[in-house]
């Protein structure tokens, strides 16, 4: 059997071969520690690290001095949130964030709660977007930090970072943005976007896993405490030997993203529309999340009356993610879809398709055929589809709980 068709680019992307070839010389031939100031091995490594810093800064419209290397967006989120609350603890203890954030934000603010911070978790609208007025109302005089993700990992919806950031600047609240799913997909310019801290990842943008960055704004100057100590690398904000090959990879990946974003987004949008058209011909299919304010890479669909995990099982030739977490003991469906007010049924029936650089139209057509046949088969098996077809409104049924 051939390998499954990969439509899970929101989970991770392959490293672009052009990126791989740039990384390789920095493993054996040029292995120096960029912090070694006393010899040519170190100087060579430092030079490419600084070039990569410029490449990353260029994609997001930042000054290279505003880029701090980390191990990935999870660490960047931890550093931004914990580092801000530790440094500015005297100003207040209140943090505002959103229910649909990534776990690396939600678990971090929960951890802060244990050490005395107060956290407000905002709901989103049915389309997954924040209510701007609700956001404004949630900011209090003692609010130190607000954290909102640019692009949601499950639904691909794009929050209005410009508007939210302007409110934060107005109220003197620091604004952190998790952009792991946005870099290379959404064009933005931190020179004009009112954001104080931004988390970036390499492996969602055809770079290697294990490397990311935190943007720390210099104008106005944002100060944070380090959470990892030991040598004072990265201007004291993040100690630890810099992984030269990883950094070179992230730099090249971001450079390629900058060069190709416009054309690539258009091509991916075409593929997304082809997939959507193909699958909407099945009855009772719903798109999760706003269709306009959304990256073209993501299509999150609920196939009503079909459970997500069994659907995944029925399309073994496709690699995608399900919003149903029936494997966990809790049987909790996706918290992101629940926060959008989706019923448990629809959340259990959801599949996230995410399209990327190496997806082809032939693959999309094969996916349409495979998903359609699996959905039809499972609906034949589904007592809920039976009842729906018989005209029974399932919301009026009294279910035996278990």
């Amino acid at each position: 059997m051939n390998r499954p068709i990969y439509l899970d680019y929101a989970a991770t992307t392959p490293v672009d071969p052009r990126v791989v070839s740039k990384m390789l010389p920095w493993l054996f031939d040029n292995f120096g520690n960029p912090a070694s100031r006393s010899h040519a091995y170190g100087w060579a490594a430092e030079e490419v690290v600084e070039l990569a810093r410029e490449q990353v800064a260029a994609l997001v419209g930042a000054d290279p001095r505003e880029i701090v290397w980390t191990s990935g967006a999870t660490e960047s989120n931890n550093l931004a949130i914990k580092g801000t609350m530790q440094f500015h603890g005297g100003r207040g203890k209140h943090v505002v964030t959103v229910r649909t954030e990534h776990k690396s934000v939600l678990d971090t603010v929960r951890e802060l709660e244990r050490s005395g911070c107060e956290v407000t978790l905002l709901d989103v609208k049915e389309n997954g977007l924040l209510d701007i007025d609700a956001f404004r109302d949630a900011l209090r005089p003692d609010t130190v930090l607000a954290s909102v993700m640019f692009v949601n990992n499950e639904t691909g919806v794009i929050q209005d970072i410009g508007a939210l950031g302007a409110i934060c600047r107005d109220k003197g609240v620091l604004f952190h943005v998790d952009a792991a799913q946005a870099s290379g997909k959404v064009a933005f310019d931190l020179d004009s976007l009112p954001v104080d801290l931004m988390s970036l990842s390499a492996h969602k943008t055809y770079g290697p896993k294990g490397i990311g960055a935190l943007y720390v704004c210099r104008k106005p100057r944002v100060r944070i405490d380090a959470i990892i100590h030991g040598g004072g690398h990265e201007r004291g904000m993040r100690s630890g030997t810099l992984p030269t090959h990883q950094i070179v990879g992230m730099g090249e990946a971001y450079w390629l993203a900058r060069e190709n974003m416009g054309a690539e987004n258009e091509r991916i949008r075409m593929l997304r529309d082809r997939l959507l058209d193909g699958l909407m011909s099945l009855d009772q299919v719903f798109v999760n999340g706003d269709m306009e304010r959304r990256v073209p890479h993501n299509l999150n669909l609920s196939f009503n009356f079909v459970e997500g995990e069994s659907l995944l099982m029925g399309m073994k030739d496709i690699a995608v993610s399900s919003g149903s977490a029936c494997t966990s003991a809790s049987l909790e469906p996706s918290y992101v879809l629940r926060a959008m007010g989706r019923s448990d049924e629809l959340a259990h029936s959801s599949i996230r398709f995410s399209i990327g650089r190496f997806t082809t139209a032939q693959e999309i057509d094969a996916v349409i055929a495979s998903v359609s046949s699996a959905v039809r088969k499972l609906r034949e098996l589904s007592p809920l589809w039976d009842m729906h077809s018989a005209g029974i409104d399932l919301s009026t049924v009294q279910w035996a709980s278990h």
Partner: protein, 137 residues
């Protein structure tokens, strides 16, 4: 995710898929679970005049293990008396299908479906009705 060969077999070739009319003679229907929990099983048994289960049919909304569990019990209840069918334990289902711990609830649901189908049959026949009837209203 690694499913056992038996789960995969029942998923790929589910046995006895279908429905009887609920009012059909000698039919008992058990529907357990809830869409919000991610699984709903409907098990129907057709009982002969001699009190033996002649045939069974199912439809299931749920994960592969839930589909396999209900497919399996349609095979197991056939040829059994009602009391023999009621004696089928979820642990036997879980063992036969090699279900991992997180999927044990699927086997429990299948056991509940048998109980509900038998209770429905008995209540329709005016026989003793256990109080724990779990059936969709």
């Amino acid at each position: 995710m690694a499913y056992s060969d038996k789960v995969l077999d029942h998923y790929d070739n589910p046995r006895n898929v279908g429905s009887y009319g609920a009012e059909e003679d000698g039919v008992g229907t058990g529907m357990v679970g809830a869409p919000a929990c991610g699984d709903v099983m409907r098990l129907q048994i057709k009982v002969g005049a001699d009190g033996i289960i002649e045939d069974a049919k199912f439809k299931t909304y749920g994960c592969g293990s839930a589909i396999a569990s209900s497919s399996l019990v349609t095979e197991w209840v056939k040829g059994k008396t009602l009391d023999e069918a009621l004696a089928i334990k979820n642990t036997e289902i879980a063992e036969e299908l090699a279900l991992p711990p997180v999927k044990i609830h699927c086997s429990i649901l299948a056991e509940d479906a048998i109980k509900a189908a038998v209770a429905d049959y008995r209540s329709k026949q005016g026989l003793d009705t256990p109080t724990e009837t779990a059936e969709a209203a």
